[in-house]
Amino acid sequence: MSNINGKVYAMNAVTPMKPWKTWVLRAIFFVLWNVKPLQQDLINLSFIEFARWVVIPRRRFPDLGNAQPKEELQYDYLLFFSNFNGTWNQYIDAFSAVLAKGLNLIWRWSEKFPGSVPVTIFKEYIARVQFDTDYYYTAYPHATANDLKSAHIVQASFDVLSQRAQTATPEEFAEEYLDFVLQVQCHLGETGEAPVVF
């Protein structure tokens, strides 16, 4: 029963929205999705493995009949699920410091959102709307998003070198090998345990 597995943290948050505001949010997400450069900041923050926002309109909670009572809600709900590396504080500090505008754009439609700057009050809001994970699985607990990206670079370079090694002379190989090392030299970090969470 933990939010944490190896180097990744599962955050869940649910916030209420007045239904008319949901349409604005959907439009914003549509633009974000189709105008890729807007996602660049998220990519550059490099500590999120996967994240998603899910809008649940008030009448669209799954209803499987069988005498399940129908929900009668005034608000639509925005669910947020993040899988990120690092500590809770580090994560929110980073977003508040560099993505405040983007965060505001997404969450200002949620009731009582205080804004993502300054950070202390923002953290109190998140603590209030966050709920905890019962079961968290990752196929690669000892690797962060950065480790994954590095690993793929090493794999790609290694595959090329392996090919070339078959037919190269020792001298040619030595040159190819040096090139290979130069390509991967920033990507050799060890994977392993996460630092103790605090």
Binding site: A143, S150, L188, G189
Partner: protein, 464 residues
């Protein structure tokens, strides 16, 4: 221009605002047995405490400053609401945070000096002197005050001193590196700022950091007053200090450098430079990757004035070099905003006997550095840097790799020197890393303002 209230330098302890550049230091560790006598002692010490007032008329011959652990504050019988309003990490003390800080294995508390293992240190009384005799005089005076008031028990003392070469005090530490660069500039604290020390602005210039990154009671980089204990008057103009006694294994360091310096294409001095990010004379690799250059070192407009944007592959300054790890500058993008709240001010001096390059040395010789980090928030600043940037490497995209010199390697790990295709700057991997530095103790302290000291002395603290 940022707006802030003017600093009252007479209310802030001088040790916070300046590195005194006084060659000799003696630190006493005190334990309070009785609140009333302890208060009397503080009252007697108060006029002796060196403030942040500028020394426009010349340096004093000695200085005195004082700081308290949480246990130390509790010994003054402060109200419980005040005591529990201090940050959790300060309440716990550094020993309990060992797992968080990576102080395990050889650095674990069970290997610390008895003084720190015991956990009875209540206060740090720091005395510094221009000369050895000035230091002795001031120390004698302070000890006399302690004795007269019976205000404390002196548990132990620690001497430290700059290395003096040819009659001049230097900033060299035992491994031969020139230390003391790059302390942050804060708004209102320095008279002038030095490019590279503050925070990076979008136009590439450097500006001072918000005062609240160092001092409680002032706006910080997040646009708010930093979390601080109550009441305000106890916290304002104060700061927190992480104090760590770092033993240096000089023999291991020299042997490792010799062995790998022979194999590394750039030679021993260059390899030493690659560990830290500066040549041993202080020249930054980023500005002068091939040779030492004192002209840069001596020029404050240049010595800390660089960024890593043009060196993304680490071919000049390795990606995992010490100074690049603890002050990434523009490395994370976003105009450096992700590091503005992770800066600390370093004070501290080497201790133990200096040894020439040719003098035989042993790892068990008593030498090292007393490291002190000052910051408004221990967990967000010092603890974060220690845990995430020194004992871990994910933000530098180096996975679990640790800082070459400070990392708690235990014989494992590696340090990659990124290179280019040339003979004198090849890629090179150092493995089987010993602990070059070992932690022998320390704790977290609160350095109160002069006003707060007065309140402690008079027993006049109410919470709200």
């Amino acid at each position: 221009m940022a707006i802030m209230s003017k600093l009252n330098e007479t209310d802030i302890q001088g040790f916070v605002l300046r590195g005194y550049n006084l060659t000799y230091a003696r630190y006493f560790y005190l334990h309070f047995e009785d609140a009333a006598r302890a208060r009397k002692l503080i009252a007697r010490l108060l006029p002796e405490i060196t403030t942040g007032q500028r020394w426009d008329g010349g340096k004093p011959r000695s200085t005195v400053n004082i700081a308290f652990t949480h246990r130390g504050l509790a010994a003054f019988e402060l109200p419980i609401a005040t005591l529990i309003s201090f940050p959790v990490e300060f309440q716990q003390g550094m020993k309990k945070r060992a797992a968080i800080l990576g102080d395990t294995g050889l650095n674990a508390p069970e290997h610390w000096d008895e003084l720190w293992r015991e956990g009875r240190v209540h206060a740090w009384l720091g005395i510094q002197g221009l000369t050895s005799s000035a230091l002795d005089t001031a120390s004698t005076e302070m000890l006399a005050l302690i004795e007269e008031t019976r205000g404390a028990v002196v548990l132990d003392s620690q001497d430290a001193a700059s290395q003096v070469i040819a009659g001049k005090a230097t900033t060299k530490e035992h491994f031969g590196y020139t230390d003391g660069f790059g302390n942050p500039d804060y708004l209102g604290v320095e008279r002038s700022t030095q490019p590279g020390q503050g925070k990076l602005m979008p136009d590439g210039s450097w500006a001072p950091l918000a005062t609240g990154e160092l001092l409680l009671g002032y706006a910080d980089e997040a646009g708010e007053l930093p979390v601080a204990p109550i009441p305000h008057i106890l916290a304002s103009n104060g700061t927190f200090m992480a104090y760590r006694k770092l033993h240096q294994n000089l023999a291991s360091f020299r042997a490792y450098l010799e062995e790998h310096g022979r194999q590394y294409g750039g030679g021993k001095e260059k390899l030493a430079a690659k560990f830290i990010g500066r040549w041993r004379d202080g020249t930054p690799l980023e500005l002068s990757p091939d040779a030492e250059n004192q002209a840069i070192v001596q020029d404050p407009q240049r010595s800390t004035n660089f960024t890593y944007g043009a060196d993304g592959d680490g071919t000049r300054c390795p990606v995992g070099a010490h100074i690049r790890r603890v002050h990434p500058r523009d490395t994370f993008g976003f105009n450096g905003k992700l590091i503005d709240r992770r800066r600390v001010t370093r004070r501290g001096l080497p201790y133990g006997k200096f040894a020439d390059e040719n003098e035989p040395v042993s790892d068990s010789d008593d030498r090292g550095i007393i490291f002190m980090a000052l910051n408004a928030n221990l967990s967000r600043q010092f603890e974060f840097v220690q845990q995430q940037w020194i004992e871990y490497g994910n933000d530098a995209r180096l996975g679990n790799d640790k800082d070459m010199l400070l990392g708690n390697h235990g014989g494992h790990g590696k340090f990659v020197v990124q290179g280019d295709g040339s003979q004198t700057n090849p890629p090179y991997v150092c493995t089987a890393l010993p602990n070059f530095v070992e932690l022998r103790g320390g704790d977290y302290f609160f350095i109160p303002s002069i006003t707060a000291l007065g309140m402690l002395a008079m027993g006049l603290v109410d919470p709200r």
